[in-house]
Amino acid sequence: MTADSRKTARLTALFLLGWMLFNYPILSLFSLNRLVFGIPPLYLYIFSVWVFMILAVALITRIKENMPDDRR
C-alpha cells in the first residue's frame, strides 16, 4: 500500500464517519430544546463535528512520509 492510497483509505473512512455523525439518527440526539454553555446543543454539536472533520482531514493529509515503511 502506498502512502497515498493509505491516506485515501483513511479519508474515505473519515467521510463515512462524517456522514453518520451529520445525519439521522445521531443528529436527532442533539435536537434538544435547551441551551448548553449558552448555545443550542444542535449547533454546538454540528460545529464541533465540523471542527473535528477539518482537524482530522488536516492531520491525515499532513502526515508526512516519515513512516518507516514509506521510504522504501
Binding site: T8, F15, L27, S31, G38, W50, M53, I54
Partner: protein, 905 residues
Amino acid sequence: MLETATILFFSFGYMGFLFAIAYIGDRHAEMGRSIVGNPYIYALSLAVYCTAWTFYGSVGRAVRDGPGFLTIYIGPTLTAALGLLILRKIIRISKIHHITSIADFIGSRYGKSTILGGVVTVIAVLGIIPYIALQLKAISTSYLVIQGYPEIVMPRNFAKIPVLQDTAFYVSVLLAVFSILFGTRHLETTERHEGLVAAIAFESIVKLIAFLSIGIWITYSLYNGFGDLFEKARSEPEFRRLLVMENRSGAYIDWGIYIFLSMTAVIFLPRQFHVAVVENINEDHLKKAVWLFPLYLLAINIFVLPVALAGLLEFPRGVVDADTFVLTLPMAVHQEELALLAYIGGTSAATGMVIVETVALSTMICNELVMPVLLRLPFPKVSQWGDMSGLLLSIRRGGIAVILLLGYTYFRFIGEYYPLVSTGLVSFAAVAQFVPAILGGIFWKRGTRLGALWGMVAGFLVWAYTLFLPSLVQTGLLSSEFVTEGPWGIALLRPFQLFGLEGFNNVAHAVFWSMFVNLGGYVGVSLFTRPSPMEHTQAALFVDVFKPREEFTWRRTASVPDLKSLLERFLGEQRTRELLSQYASSRRLDWEESLTADDDLISYAEKLLSGAIGSASARVMVASVVKEESLGIEEVMNILDETRQVIIYSRELERTTAELKAANERLQELDRLKDEFISTVTHELRTPLTSVRSIAEILHDTEDLDPDQHRQFLGIIIKESERLTRLINQVLDFQKMESGRMEWQVQEVDIRDVVSEAVSRTDRLARDKRAAVRIHQPESPMPKIPGDFDRLIQVMLNLISNAVKFCDEDRGRIDITLSHDTEKVRVDVQDNGIGISPEDQERIFDKFHQIRNVNKTRPSGSGLGLSISRRIVEHHGGIIWVESEPGAGSTFSFELPTRKVSDAD
C-alpha cells in the same frame, strides 16, 4: 453620508479594483511568476462556492427552516474528505486530456462524444441561468435597500424599474466586460486564467471579512455574545423552533438529500469544476485545500444564526425580508460603514460567482455546442477556413454576453417570485444529474455513452417536470392547477407529489426521483449496450489514470505541414511554433525534417486542440488531416488486451489447477496402492509364518510323536518356507520392476526351451495334483526371440502353476500350445479348471488382485504372479491376456515379438 453617489463610487470602485487585481495576476502569469500558484489561493478560489446565496440567503433560510442552511456547507466538508479520492483523479485525468469543462469531461470519457457534451452543456446552461439571475437579483436588491438609507424599504417589483435605471443591468454589463477581458483574452490550450483566479480569491477574502465583521459586531456589540443572543431568542417561543430540527416526518430525509446535493454541487457545478479542476495549477495544492476550504465554510457560517436571530428580535415580524438582514441590521442601528461593507461583501459574493460561471459556461457553449455544429455544416466549409482562433474567441465572448443577458432576463421576469435559497437548490438539483455519469465514468469501466446519455436525459426531464415547470406557475405562465391537481387532473402526476410520494420537500422530492431514473438509466442501459472501441479506450484511460499503462496507440499518420496549419488555425502561428518546438525538444526530435507525423505527434496535437475547442471537436478536426485511421485487428486486440490477458491468465490458472489435481489424484492412488501392497504382503508373509511356527510348537511340545507324523510336519515346514521364499522373491522382483532397477539379461531365446524347462520344473507340482501337462508345438523350428531367459521362465512358471492350482483335482488337463508367425511367437496355456468370471478377467493382471475362491477362505497365491508376468511380457514388447468362461476352464496367452523392441519399457 450614504448617498447614492457614495454607494455607486464604492460599487464601481470595487469593480475597478477587481480589474486591477486580475490584470496584475495575468501580467505575473505572463512573466512566469505566478501569484496564484499556492494552496491558499487555490482554497480561496474554491470559496467561489459561497455566493450571494450564502451571504444573504443563509440568514433568510435560517429564519425559515432553522439549522437546514448548514447542509449546504456540511456537504462540501464531507466531499473534502473524499477530495484525494475523487477530485485528484478528475484533476489528473483533465490535465492529461486537456479537458476544459465538465461537459468536455463527460463527453471525452464516453468516447469523445459530441452528443453527450452537448447534452451536458444544455443541462448546465438551463440549470444555471436561474442561479445567475439569483446573483443579479441579490446585487439589485442590496443596492435598492442600501440606497433607501436611512429608511429600510423592501424593494417590491423589479419589473417596474426601467432597465436603464437598474443597477443590476449595469453590473451585468460590467461583469460581461470583466469576464470577456479576463476569461477570453486569448485562446489557451489549458484554459487557465490566473488573473481571474486572483480576482476570485480576493473576492473570497472580501466576503468572508465582511460577513465576519457584521457577525462579530452584531453578536458582541448589539448583544453580549452568543449566550445573551440565544437566551433572548429562547424567550420568544416562536423562535425556539429555529434552534432544533424541524419537527416533521421526512425532515431528516430532506436533510440527508441536501447534504448529498451540496456534496455533488461543490465539484460538479460548472464554476466549481472550473476553479477546482481546470484552474488547478498543482495537484498537491489539493492536500491543503481539502481542509482549508471547509475551514472557510465553517468561518462564514458561524454568525449566520446569530444574525438571523438578531434580525428577528430587532425587526417587527414580516416587515423586513430575512434575506436582507445582513444589510438591514447595520442600517437599522445606523452603522453606515458596516452597511457599506455588507453591501460590498454581498456584491463580491455575487460577482465572483457570475464571472466564473459565465466563463465556464461560455467555454462549454463554444466547444460543445457551437463548434461541433459549425464543423459539421455542409456549407460553407467552416472546417476549411483559415485562422479560427478569432472566431473561437468571438463565440466565447458572445456566449458570455448571451448568458448574462439570459440571466438578467430571467431575473427581471421570473426571479422576483423566488427566494434566494430555492433557486440555488434548483440549480444544484440540475447539476446532480452529472453525478452518475462522472463518478461512474472514473470508477466503472462498463459505463457506456448510451447509458450516460439516457441517464442524464431522463434525470433532467424529471428535474424539469418536478422543479422547473412548477416555477412557471408562480409567473402565471402555467395555471396553478398544474401543481395542485396535476396535469389533466391526474393526481398521480402532480409535480410535487409524483406518483403520490409525499412528505418530502419539493427539492428533495425532485432529487429523489431524478436520481432514481438517472442512476437506473445509466447503470441499466450501460449493462445492456456495448461500448465502441473509442469508448473502451477512453474508459480505460480515465478509470486507470493512476496505473502505469502503455499508451494505446492508433495506427495513423498525417503530414506535418497539414497538422501544423491545423494548429495554427486554432492557436495562432506563434503559439503553434512554440508548442511544437517544446514537443520537439522534449522528445529530442527534429520534427521539421520529417514530413510524416507519427501517432504520438498527432495525439499531442489533438490534446492541444482539445484544450482550445473541446475533445469531440478536436477529434473531428484532427481526423480531417489524418490520412488513415484504420483500426487493424491488432489494435482491436490491444483494446481488448486487458480482458484477453485476464482470460488467458484464468485459463492458465485452470489448466495448472487441473494438472495439480491430476497429480494429487495420482499421488493418492499411489498411496492407496502402497497401503494395499503392504497389507497384502504382510498378510501373505504372516500365513506361512504362522503355520511354520505352530507346527514347530507342536514338534517342540509333543515328545512322543510317531516318526511318520514327525516327517509329515517337517514336510509342511519345508513347503511353507519355500512358499515364503517364493513370495519374498516375487516382492523383490516386483519392487525392482516397479522402480525400474530390474537387470535384464537379454539374449537369443528359443521359446521351446523356456516352455520345456518350465514344465519340467512344475512337474512335481502337477503330479501332486495328478494333472496332465501336454505341450503342442509345431514341427518346424521356431524363430528365436530376444529376451531374458530366466524371466520368461518365471512367466511360464506362473501360468503353469496357476493352471495347476485351479484345475480339477484328478482330472486336471493342461495344454500348452506354441505357435508363431514371422513377427511373433505365441504361447497358450489352457486348463479345464473352474474358469474366471468376466469382471475378474479384467483385473486379474493388476497387482495384488486375488480371486476369492468360494471354497477356500484364503485366497490362493500372492496376487503378484500375474502382475509380474505382465510386466515381464510387456518389457519384451509383447502382450498377455486371458480368455475364459466360468466352469469351462481358461486360457492364458501371451505373444512376444521376434525382433527387439528398442523402447520396451
